[in-house]
C-alpha cells in the first residue's frame, strides 16, 4: 500500500505547493469491489485496517485536509460478474478494521446498495456505512433521475437520522441515462427528494464531479467545490 500512499502524498504536496490553489479537502479513495472475496471473509477486515493505516499516515498540509473515500456499492452486475456482489456484512467488517486505525472521516460516494440488492444489503447496513459508523459520511452517486437514485436515499433517511455531505455527480457525462445530471441538478435532485419527504436541509453543500468532468473540459477545481 506504500506506493498508493506515496502517490497520494505527492499529489497533496504538489497541490499545496502551488500557492495559487485554494484550500481543499482531498480524499484518497478505494471501492468495495473485490471479486475473489466472499461476503464473510476476513480480508475485508484486514483491508479496512490497511486502508485506515495508510490514510492515517498521509500528512495534511496548510492548504489540504485529508479525507478517505470508498465507493461502497453492491457492484451487482450479472452480465459481467455473474452472481458475485459485495454484501453489507463485508463493509461493516471493513469499518471494523478501518476505525481503530484512524479518525480521518471516510466518505461513501457509491450508489445505494440496499436499492440494488436488498437481500444482501439491509437498510441498516447501508445506513451504518453511510452515516452510523464512527467517521462514516457520505456523498452518494446521483447520476440520473429515477427511483434508484435520490429517492432510494430518502428510504435510508426515513429509516434513521442521517446527514448528507453532498452528492457525487457525473456532471452531464456519459451514464446509463444520457446525458447524466449536471452537478447542480444532482444536488437539487437529492435535496428536493428529501424535502418532499419532510427532510429539508439535510444535504450539505459539497459536490464531487466524477472523471467525466475532464471530457467536458471543465476545470479540476469544480471537484469538491462548495455549492
Amino acid at each position: 500500500m506504500a506506493w498508493a500512499q506515496n502517490i497520494a502524498q505527492a499529489y497533496i504536496d504538489g497541490y499545496n505547493d502551488n500557492s495559487a490553489h485554494p484550500f481543499a479537502a482531498i480524499a484518497m479513495g478505494t471501492n468495495s469491489s473485490n471479486y475473489p472475496w466472499a461476503c464473510i471473509d476476513g480480508q475485508w477486515n484486514t483491508s479496512g485496517a490497511f486502508w485506515g493505516y495508510t490514510i492515517n499516515h498521509l500528512i495534511s498540509r496548510s492548504r489540504v485536509n485529508i479525507k478517505s473515500a470508498n465507493d461502497i456499492e453492491s457492484f451487482y452486475d450479472p452480465s459481467q460478474f455473474g452472481t458475485w456482489r459485495t454484501c453489507g456484512g463485508a463493509l461493516l467488517s471493513w469499518f471494523d478494521g478501518y476505525t481503530p486505525q484512524t479518525s480521518v472521516p471516510n466518505y461513501d460516494f457509491g450508489d445505494n446498495p440496499h436499492s440494488d440488492v436488498p437481500g444482501d444489503w439491509s437498510i441498516d447496513q447501508t445506513w451504518q456505512v453511510a452515516w452510523g459508523r464512527p467517521g462514516a459520511f457520505n456523498m452518494p452517486e446521483i447520476y440520473c433521475n429515477g427511483s434508484g437514485w435520490a429517492l432510494s436515499w430518502v428510504t435510508i433517511r426515513a429509516y434513521k437520522y442521517m446527514l448528507f455531505e453532498g452528492v457525487t455527480s457525473l456532471n452531464g457525462g456519459p451514464a446509463d441515462c444520457n446525458p447524466s445530471l449536471t452537478w447542480q441538478a444532482s444536488w437539487n435532485s437529492l435535496d428536493q427528494a428529501l424535502s418532499n419527504a419532510g427532510y429539508p436541509g439535510y444535504v450539505q453543500s459539497y459536490a464531487i464531479v466524477f472523471r467525466e468532468n475532464y471530457y467536458l473540459d471543465r476545470p479540476l477545481r469544480s471537484m469538491l467545490q462548495p455549492k
Binding site: 504536496d13 499545496n16 505547493d17 502551488n18 500557492s19 495559487a20 485554494p22 484550500f23 479537502a25 469491489s33 471479486y35 475473489p36 498540509r61 496548510s62 492548504r63 485536509n65 457492484f75 451487482y76 452486475d77 450479472p78 452480465s79 459481467q80 460478474f81 450508489d111 436499492s115 440494488d116 440488492v117 436488498p118 451504518q128 452515516w131 452510523g132 459508523r133 459520511f137 440520473c144 429515477g146 427511483s147 434508484g148 437514485w149 434513521k160 437520522y161 442521517m162 446527514l163 455531505e165 453532498g166 456519459p174 446509463d176 441515462c177 450539505q204 453543500s205 459539497y206 472523471r211 475532464y214 471530457y215 467536458l216 473540459d217 462548495p226
Partner: protein, 263 residues
Amino acid sequence: MKNRIKYPRNRRVWLPLVGVLIVTSTLVIIALTRPISNIRADGVDCSGAWYNSPDPVVVETCSRQKAANTLSPADEMATGTAQPYVRTDPNFVLQTPQPMLPMPDYAKQVGEMKFDPYNGAWPSHWRGVTSAWVDGGVPSTGYIDWSKLYVVARTGYQNPKDIGPEVPPTRTNGELYPRINTDILDGGGPGMGRFIKDWTCPQPIGDIVITNITNPPLPTITNPNVPYPELQSVIYFKAKESEQIGTFDMATEIWTFEPAPKK
C-alpha cells in the same frame, strides 16, 4: 518528662504542605486524564456503539450529536483558509507544462486487451463490453498530455438500477444492435472529449468481437498549433453467433458487412 522530639518550626510547616500538594496534584492529574464523558444531560451515552442500539432515542440523539459536531463545508474551508500557508517544498518552482511533441511511443500502440478470466471486463463502467482494444493515443489541448484511446464493443445491457430492483436485469433490443465506442481510462485532459464517441451498428448482428484495428499513417506533428486530426481508425469485427464479419470506419462512420464465412 520525656523529651519530646521537637521538629524545627519550618519542618512543621512544609510537611503538611507536601501532603496537600500531593493530594492536589493527584486530583489535577485525574481530572486531566480521565475520559471525557459522552453522557449527555438527558442520559444518552454516545461513546460506544450507539449505532447498534435498539433504542431509537439513542440513535436519533447520537446522530444529531454527530451532525452538530461536523464542520460544515463552508466552515471547513474558512478554517483551512485562515491558517498560515506553509509550502511543503521550499524549493518548489511552479512549472508550466510543455507540449509533448512529437507523439510519445506509448500513444502509438494498438492491440487487443485481454480480460481477466475471473473478473471480466474492467473498469466497472465497461459493463456489457464484449471486446476491447487499445487504439493508440489522443492529445489534450495544446498537446500537454496524451492518453491511450480504447475502443470497446458493447451489448445493449441495461443496468438494473435504472429499471428498479424489482425487475430482473434484462437484455434489451440493444443486444442485437451492438455498439462500438471509444473511451479514455486515465482521466484524460482538456480537449479530449471530442474523441469519446459512441456508434450503434445498423444491423442486428448481436454481440461482436473486434478482430483488428488499422490506422492511416499520421503526419509527424511538432508544432502545438497544428490541430490533431479526428479519429480515422478502421475497426474489423466478427459477430459471435453468426460469425458475420464487417468493418466500421471512424472517419466516415460507415459500417460495411460481408457475408458470413461458411462453416
